[in-house]
Amino acid sequence: MTGPPAPGAAGRRPIAALRAVRRSAWTVAIVGLLGALLAVEKLVHPTLNVFDMQSLVDGALPLCLAAMAQTAVVLSGGIDLSVGPMMSLVNVVSALLMTHATNGQAVLIALGLMAVAAAAGALTGAVIVATGVPDIIVTLATGFVWGGLALHIMPIPGGAAPAGFAALMTGELGSVPSGLVVILAALAILWEPVHRSPAGLALYAVGSNRAAAYLSGVAVGRARVTAYAMGGAFAALGGFALTASTTNGNAAAGTSYTLTSVAATVLGGVSLAGGRGGMIGPVAAALLLTLINTLLTFEGVDPNFSLVVQGAIVVLVVMVAGLVLVRRRGA
C-alpha cells in the first residue's frame, strides 16, 4: 500500500467495492436471474403471494441443502457422489427415530444425527486422503453403502415426524418461510465460522492449488477432511428437509439429489476445479432450478420433458458465462 506501485500493477486499481462485485459477478447474476424470474412470474400470475414463495422454498429446501453439501466439498477440490444417498439414509433413520418422539426429542435426535453424518463425511474424507483413491470412486462406493443401509433399515416407506418438527423446517416463521431461516441459520452457524477461520482459508487454498497450499504449510489432509465433514452435516440437514416435507421416511427420497446438487453447484458459480465460489450462488441456483421446474409443471409441461429443459438451462447458462469469460480474457 505504501511505496511505489507494484510492477505490472500500475494503472489498474479499481475501487474495492467494484472489485468485490466483479469477483462475485456470477452470484450476482444468478440472484438477479432468480429475482427476474420471480418478477415475471408475479406479472403473469398476479396471484403470487407469500404462499407461493412459501411453497417455492419448501420445494427447494432439500436441493438447497444438498447444493450446500456439494459446494463445501467442491470448493476443496473434491466431489461427493454420496450426497443423495446420505440424505436418504438420514431421512429414513430420522423418520424411524422420530415416530413417537416429542418435538424436543426430535430436535435432539436431529442434532445427534447431524453429528453422526458429519463424522461419516469425515470418515469418507479420511479414506480419500489416506488411500489416495480418487474421491469420485470413494464417494460412489460410500453412496452405495448409505443407500443400501437406508433400504435395509426401511424397505418400504414408513416412520413419521412430529408436526412441530416438520413446521420448524417447512412452515413459516412470522411471514418468512422457515426454510429460508434454516438455510440462513445453517450458513451462519455451520458455514461462516469455518469459512472465516483459518480452516476455511485452508479449504479454499487446497481446492485452488493443492501443491502450493502444501508448500505453504497447509495441513492439506485436514482441510479436505473438514470439507467432507461439512458436506455430511449439510446433507443431514437435507435429509431432515425430506423428513419434514413428507413426514415419513423413504429410502429412495434422496437419490436424485446427487446429480442435481452438482448442477446447482456449477450453476451457482462454483468452479468444479475447486477454490472458487461461495455458498450464496448455489443456494440461489437451487431455488432457480426449482422455480423453473414449478413453472414448467404449472404450464402443464410433461415432467419428463421438464428435466430436458432444466438440463438445457444449466448448459446454456454455463456456456454463456464461459463465452463472456473468453471475451473478457481476449480483450
Binding site: 500500500m1 505504501t2 511505496g3 511505489p4 506501485p5 507494484a6 510492477p7 505490472g8 500493477a9 500500475a10 494503472g11 489498474r12 486499481r13 474495492a16 472489485r19 469477483r23 483459518p198 482459508l201 485452508a202 479454499y204 487454498a205 481446492g207 485452488s208 492449488n209 501443491a211 502450493a212 497450499a213 502444501y214 508448500l215 505453504s216 504449510g217 497447509v218 495441513a219 477454490g275 472458487r276 480474457r329 481476449g330 480483450a331
Partner: protein, 513 residues
Amino acid sequence: MGRHPMPAVNLLEVRGVSKRYGAVVALRSASLTVAAGEVHALLGANGAGKSTLVKILTGVIRPDAGTIEMSGRPVRFASPASAPRAGLAAVFQDPSLVPDLTVRQNLRLTGADPAGVRRWLAAMDLGVDEDDLAGDLPLPLLRILDLARALAREPRLLILDEITAALPADLVERVFHVIRRWRAQGRSVLFISHRLVEVRTICDRATVLRDGADVGTLVLAERAEQQIVALMLGPMAASPEALRPAGPGAGTRPDAAVRDRAGGASAAPLLLEARGLAVSGALRGVSLSLRAGEIVGVAALEGQGQDALFDCLAGNRRADAGEIRVAGRTLAPRTPYDAIRAGVVLVPADRVHALLPQRSVRENIALPLYNRAARWGPIDLRDEGARAGAAIARLAIDTRAQRQVRRMSGGNQQKVVVARWLAAGFRVMLCFDPTRGIDVGTKRQIHRLLRDLAAAGAAVLLFTSELPEIPLVCDRVLALYEGRVVRELPARAADEATLLRVVHGLAREEPPG
C-alpha cells in the same frame, strides 16, 4: 528471537542425505554445512538434486537416509508446517502462493505477519495491493511476495531456490540488498541459482552437487567460477569450451562471424514485421522487424509491455491496433493455433502453462505435431519417436523421470518446452526467457542452438531477464520502456551497463525508423 553468541557448531549440517523415486535416484548422498551469518550457494546442473535437497530440508518430502542437524541438534520434519518452527523457511522453485486467494489471504494461510511482510516489501521498494488475487499478479511479483513471506518468519536459515530466475535485473539487485542486510544480522541463506555472476556477487561459499552427491565445497574467491563449472559438469564435460566464463567480454564467440554477416546482410527476407502494435495499458505502438537469420533481443525491466508484445505476436491475445506480417503475409492471429500455422511459435515464460504435466516427455514434445492441419488417422509413432528423440538428444534432456514431465527438474522441464518446437519446425521463434532456470552448460547449448537456428534461416525474438545474454546471442537489441521501443542497439554496443541505462528509460532516444 534473541540472538546468542554463536557456538562453534554449524547452523545447518546435512550428512549423507539420499532420496530415490522408484528407479530414479534424485539424491545419492548429499552433505552440506552452512555457518551462521553465511550466504552459502548450492550449485549443480539441471537435475543434480538441488530442489530435492531443499524439499527434504523443509519437510516437503522425507529422505530415505541421512541426518540433518540445526545448531548441532538433529531435526526431522513431518510436514512443511513444522520446518519454520526449527528456524527454516524456504522460497521454492515454483511459486507457492495459492492463485484463487487474495494476497492477504495467502499471508494469513501461512500465519505470516502482514506487517512484517509489508516491511520487507518496503525494504525492497515494492508495494502490493493485498486485495489482488495472487493469480492475477505477474510472476516476478509473486516471487518477491514469496520471499517477503519467508523473510517475515524471521528464520535462522533462509533457503532460496532459484528466486532470481524470474526476476529482472533491478529486482535482483533489491533482493541482494535484502540478503546483505540479512547476513549482517548474523543470519544465513542457502542460495540456489544458475547464474554464476550472482553467486560470485552475493555468496561466501559454495557447495556443488553432481548427480545427487556433493562433489566439493569452495570459498568464492576471485577465480572460483571455472572451478565451479568444472565441478558441476564433471571431468568429462569440462572441455575448454565449457570452461569459458559467461558474461560480457567472454572472449571470441563461435558465432561472432555469423553475427557480423547478419549485421551486414540486410537483404535477407523479412520474416516478421510488426507495425504500431498497441494494447491498452501495456503497449503503445511497437514496431519491429526480424529478418531470416537474425536474433533480435528485447531488453526491459519488469512490466514494460514485453508480456503483451509476445502474447500479441504469438496469438495469445489480440492487439487493439497495429499490424503483424509474417513473411510478407498479414497475420491477425486469434489463437496460438493461427500463429503456429504461420510458423510463429512461442517459448513462454511460464513452463507450467506450456506443458502437460502428467504426460511423458515424448508426448509433450510431439504435441505440436498432432496439430498439423488435416492430420487424421493414427499417429505415426516411428516419426514421432524419431523427432522427439532428436530434440531430446540435441538439448541433452535428462530423461530419467520422463514418464511424467512434472517429476522432472525445473530446468529439464524448460528444455522440453524448447524441444517441442525443434521437433515441429517453425519460421519465427519467440523466446521469452528461454534460459530461465537452466544450468550454465545447457545455457550455452541453448545459446548455440539459437544461433544455429538463425543460421539455418529462422528468425528469433528473444526476451531475456539476464542482460549479459544479449551481446552473447543477439544481433540487435530493442529496449522497451513503458510500452514503447525507446532504443535500438547493435548487440556489440549492448554491454550490461549500457543496457541497464536504456531499460531504465535513461539515455532516451527516438526509435529509428
